[in-house]
Symmetry: none
Subunit: 401 residues, 2 copies
């Protein structure tokens, strides 16, 4: 696989436009009665028409057999090797709720939990308290003052929150306070490098104060922290690929991931129609667009086969609107599979198609798992998609003379 | 490719059972009269039925174009990158005759050879003496006493034997005494690191004493040693994959390879029927079984196309017995190809199929080279089989959030 050091030397800025259209979790598993997956069941004349004009295949986001989280799944699509570019859990959680992170901020994933009279954890999730209760408690914790740093305590969902420490000379190289098992007391946060001494002190002070504040809030009478991390410093897509990339996504997590690789995040609405309107509006301002649809994944996560079929059909119905922009390169794929049968992300490779004037179409006439398995791309790592898209946009010079 | 450091963090122990069924050397080449390989010629209704319910492909044990020995071929199947996990020649030879190696033992591959009056090698294989003669000479050599180590001299076949040195502070970092050419004198064994000084002295002492013992045994009047090595210290399959693995193989080499990665070797008979009885008997005691059939390779090595066809049909006839155990994940493949037309191992990729409730079957309906080339796995490195099998057993958590 070609690396950034090579690709950045041969890539050229041009006017050609690339649209990376991600149907989150699009891959599925066959329905036991029909033997057809969600995508194979859905009526998708527009996707199929694109497939007939595309080169198709099945891509592995991380590696065969590996089920990717949203982070690794998207990084691979953006051309970043997900085994090399890892995101800390705290940062990912912050991205997921649209918290804007500054460069030195340290983020941690927090759980409200229950401790007994001896201070031992009896429930790591505090009985999954309501999100409303969570919001209320986060307001209480936000009043804590620490010497040497500001803090943000932001609710996520149920028992989950994000802690941000903001100040000078902070470091994310810290151990967890969450021992991951009940019956144990929370751990003190340990520095994993000398540079993290101050941050460890701040984190432990926060935990001690949180314990006081929550004393009477049973079952949410304590907090657990894990995945301390800072924004990674990665080369941007502009630096590596000489692109001016923009992201159109209605869910915070995907906007956050796009920011990590230097995309401009465009404000948009929550429907695909609104996302497409945003794309049309900004079409002249960028040469790369990451366009994200969440519903295909959500209905898969719900375990609702028919609803996922319907979500796919809705995407198909909007496709002509996207095609009318005539992008020079159109990629349609997912960041992973989310079969309704598993009601979760899975390891199954993802249907992929790329259409351009220069793509050399194969014989695949249908956008589906079975059809793409016969495509000329074969089965390949998703991290190879970006170089292929750049090539089809005629943005890559020859490698070697 | 995902490494052990990642996979060991996301793997979970579950009750699901994986059977890795290896038809040694199963891949072949077309018969000139029919254009069909051994596997395509054989009548295999049971293998074909499994193929229809499987995800299929063609795997490369090491890398395209590379013909694997039994060691690398099997290590890849066990999930160990054969370019990284190398086995010394002496150790491999010892495994092949079921010699039990202790941790500090040093093993060398030995040849009986012929030297002339000037002590120069005239035949590196001593005219391929009979195995009976070899056994007799090994008994003589076994009587040699060395100061500071015990020794084992074990016959293999024809001119080949294994020398084991057993003692304290031994090292396998030694050069060969075998100069690999006739007309030269045997080399003295050189230490390749300071730690091997004692072992070099022992090896040279053995060679000098062997020369005396064999003085009157022309043509086998000298020995050559090469491939000095010790048991490698590798992470076990239990450490890496959280499996309790067992091996069922009637040939010593494969039992030895299984031991290297920490499998429990189950006593079994020499036929597939007996191996399957062993599998049934121990089915509740392990969650991973490596089941090995040798005949497919042996008949290929014989260069006997029809006999290999028959060996494949015999395997097929026994398959229902294996299927009746209903393993959660069944993998059927080979460790390499052994086309009768070449009468040897070859570099051709190996037909592969994996069946599980979650495998997302492709359109392949037949277990053969041509059919598997159309499978959804495409062409892939064999070292990816283990992660895929673990995923299909639902033993792998998500990678990244």
């Amino acid at each position: 696989m070609i690396g950034f050091e090579h690709i950045s030397k041969i890539v050229q800025r041009t006017d050609a436009k690339i649209v990376l259209f991600i149907m989150d979790g699009v891959g599925g598993l066959p329905h036991p009665e029909t033997g057809l997956t969600e995508l194979e069941t859905a009526r998708t004349p527009n996707l199929d028409r694109v497939a007939a004009e595309s080169i198709c295949g099945l891509s592995d986001p991380v590696s065969p057999g590996i089920t990717p989280g949203s982070g690794p799944g998207h990084l691979a699509l953006f051309g970043y090797d997900p085994l090399k570019y890892e995101i800390g859990r705290g940062v990912l959680e912050a991205l997921g709720i649209d918290l804007e992170l500054k460069e030195e901020d340290v983020a941690a994933r927090g759980n409200f939990c229950t401790v007994d009279d001896q201070g031992k954890i009896s429930d790591r999730r505090a009985g999954r308290i309501s999100t409303e209760k969570n919001q209320e408690l986060c307001q209480l914790l936000s009043k804590i003052k620490l010497a040497g740093a500001e803090l943000v305590v932001a609710p996520v969902k149920e028992h989950r929150f994000v802690l941000l420490l903001r100040g000078n000379k902070l470091s994310g190289e810290l151990g967890d306070s969450d021992p991951q098992h009940v019956g144990l007391a929370p751990l003190s946060v340990k520095k994993l490098s000398p540079a993290a001494e101050k941050t460890a002190r701040l984190a432990n002070e926060f935990v001690a104060r949180a314990k006081e504040v929550l004393r009477s809030c049973h079952p949410a009478n304590m907090v657990l922290l894990r995945g301390f991390s800072q924004l990674p410093r990665w080369p941007s897509m502009n630096e590596v690929f000489k692109l001016s990339p923009a992201a159109i996504a209605s869910y915070p997590m995907y906007r956050g991931l796009a920011r990590l690789v230097g995309m401009k995040v465009l404000a948009t609405g929550s429907t695909l129609a609104e996302e497409l309107a945003t794309l049309r509006q900004h079409y002249n301002d960028h040469d790369f667009f990451f366009l994200h649809v969440k519903q295909t994944d959500s209905r898969g996560e719900d375990g609702d086969f028919q609803a996922k079929v319907k979500a796919i059909e809705e995407v198909d119905a909007h496709l002509p609107d996207l095609l009318s922009l005539k992008p020079d390169v159109l990629v349609v794929t997912g960041d992973h599979s989310t079969p309704a049968a598993l009601a979760s992300h899975s390891w199954h490779p993802v249907p992929f198609m790329l259409r351009s004037r220069w793509c050399r179409p194969d014989r695949v006439k249908e956008f589906s798992e079975s059809a793409c398995a016969q495509g000329a791309m074969g089965r390949f790592p998703a991290v190879e998609i970006m170089p292929l898209a750049l090539a089809n946009a005629l943005k890559l010079d020859k490698f070697g003379a």
